[in-house]
Amino acid sequence: MNVLIKNISNSIQPENDSESHSVAGENSSIVRIEAICKSFGGLQALWNISFDVRPYTVQGLIGPNGAGKTTLFNLIAGAYYPDKGRIFFDQIQVQGKRVHDRVKLGIARTFQNVELFESMTVIENVLVGQYVRTRSGFWSTIFRMPWTIKEEQGAREEAKKLLNFVGLEQYAEVRSSDLPFGWQRLLEIARALASKPKILLLDEPAAGLNAVETKQLGELIKKIRDQGVTILIVEHDMSLAMDVSDRIAVLNQGRLIAEGTPREIQSHDAVMAAYLGGGK
């Protein structure tokens, strides 16, 4: 993947930036998880999880298989609802809100297995990503109102900037299913950014990528954070998680066993035990 990640300043968040600064001060949390419990049938997937995601940081979420990472991720994204506990986003309770309402508030996600709109072109995928920020309705579309045309042009311009940001601008008119896998992942990130989220949830973004691609992905993630977007990343790849995360939360068997900076996590006894098994 010889994609050059280009630094286009403010191409992601020109409008919301100042607003989100005022809403979430430096020390507050953008996502607060309070005593979350979730079980599937008899299986207790998460038990009494509480932690905060700080704004403008990359928050890692790691743990062995079956630890409940993806469950927690889906609870924040809105694919599941918790049995108990609360989730705050920007001081608003979101645990009962539906997925599309959360996107409107500023939560965007990607999928572990990459879910693009495969019959559409690359740029169309990004345009769909702007759905919540555009307004043209049924009648104004049918009558081709001037503001609809203007909005469409603006949306296309912005989609191009976003493709430029992830390095896919030459492939705008290619069918998204024709892209190689690594680029599909980048496109999915661009599509998620198109809704101008305050937080971007990445579900194992390095799955299926080779070492070079993973490294470039790490750079892109940091670049997105530097544009003022908070990132929550569920990751299997330890080196990537340690490299990009400002803070890391570790889950094991549905419980939160550690939370801190990557350095703290690396020397944490319980984490060592969970990953390597055995002695304290």
């Binding site: 994204a77 539906r98 997925v99 599309h100 996107v103 409107k104 965007a108 996600r109 999928f111 879910e115 693009l116 709109f117 495969e118 019959s119 559409m120 169309e124 345009l127 769909v128 990503g129 702007q130 759905y131 919540v132 555009t134 043209s136 309705g137 049924f138 579309t141 049918i142 081709r144 609809t148 909005e151 469409e152 949306a155 599509r191 998620a192 198109a194 809704s195």
Partner: protein, 319 residues
């Protein structure tokens, strides 16, 4: 981009010229009638194509909306002696309302289950048409539905009705085309590709599916209105289950998610039975065989299939 626009304008131009040429040159009223039926079927197929081809939601009960449009105007014009132009908005509103009420619970289903749900709805409506004799006229239906008139101008001649129907087709095409090329159209297609991901980018899939279901029903209602005033006689048999299937077949044969495909499908399925009269007793067998062959050879439908063949030959030519 501009070549795309050019092609679009050109296809509209060709369409207009074809319609005008057919209207002016064809004097045989039988042919004009067949073409008018193609127009009515095209409106049905266009509407279902929005739902099925673009949003990926099947409806096996579209004949119900077609019938509701026809029956509403029949009852209002024959029974209450009202103007058809008053009946038209009433028919559209009623159909949209029914689509809303039916769609609210059924569109939560998907795939086969949605097919079953809409199938059941279609059958219920058909039974109502047949059995509620005091209102719908029962099995004998309605006779003497007045022809359409606009001031002193009458649409009773085949030629005038042909123009009326095809103008409606054109309006429907423009309407659908504009929706598809927009934010809403992209959201619809995204539901078809992955409803999961569509929600994740913030599309309220439930509402959008309901809206497109209502639009598609409204077009079927308009088709029903045009049908009733064209043949001046309606009975429940015209709106039964087989007709729903035929509309689905038009969309599939023509090519899903293609506006011109819907037109092509409607034309083929209207013309085939006319051409196949020569086979007399074997007519239905040949009809079925042709549909089977099209699906085996061009599983994506005629439009996509022909385009694929064209692209393939084009590539070879240049290499």
């Amino acid at each position: 981009m501009s070549s795309k626009l050019l092609r679009k304008t050109a296809s509209y131009g060709i369409f207009w010229i074809a319609v005008a040429a057919a209207g002016m040159s064809i004097d045989n009223s039988y042919y004009l009638q067949v073409l008018t039926f193609i127009g009515i079927h095209s409106i049905l197929a266009l509407g279902l194509n929005m739902l099925m081809g673009y949003a990926g939601q099947i409806s096996l009960g579209h004949a119900a909306f077609y019938g509701l449009g026809a029956y509403t105007t029949a009852i209002m014009t024959v029974h209450y002696d009202l103007s058809p132009w008053l009946a038209l908005p009433c028919a559209i509103c009623l159909v949209i309302l029914v689509a809303f009420i039916v769609g609210l619970p059924t569109l939560k289903l998907s795939g086969y289950y949605l097919g079953m749900g809409t199938l059941g709805f279609g059958m219920i409506v058909h039974i109502i048409f047949r059995e509620w004799t005091s209102v719908t006229g029962g099995a004998s239906g309605y006779v003497g539905i007045p022809p359409l008139e606009l001031g002193a101008f009458s649409f009773s001649s085949s030629r005038n009705y042909f123009y009326l129907v095809w103008c409606t087709v054109l309006i429907s095409i423009v309407l659908c085309q504009r929706l598809i090329d927009s934010r809403i159209g992209r959201a619809l297609r995204s539901i078809h590709d992955s409803e999961h991901a569509s929600k994740a980018v913030g599309v309220n899939t439930r509402n959008l599916k309901l809206q497109v279901f209502m639009l598609s029903a409204a077009l079927a209602g308009v088709a029903g209105f045009l049908y009733a005033h064209f043949v001046s006689f309606i009975s429940p048999g015209t709106f039964d289950f087989i007709v729903s299937i035929r509309i689905v077949t038009m969309v599939v044969i023509g090519g899903m998610a293609s506006i011109w495909g819907a037109l092509l499908g409607a034309s083929l399925l209207t013309l085939l039975p006319e051409w196949l009269h020569a086979f007399s007793d074997f007519e239905m067998i040949v009809y079925g065989l042709i549909l089977m062959l099209v699906m085996i050879i061009l599983p994506q439908g005629l439009t996509r299939g022909i385009l694929d063949i064209y692209e393939r030959s084009h590539k070879k030519y240049f290499k």
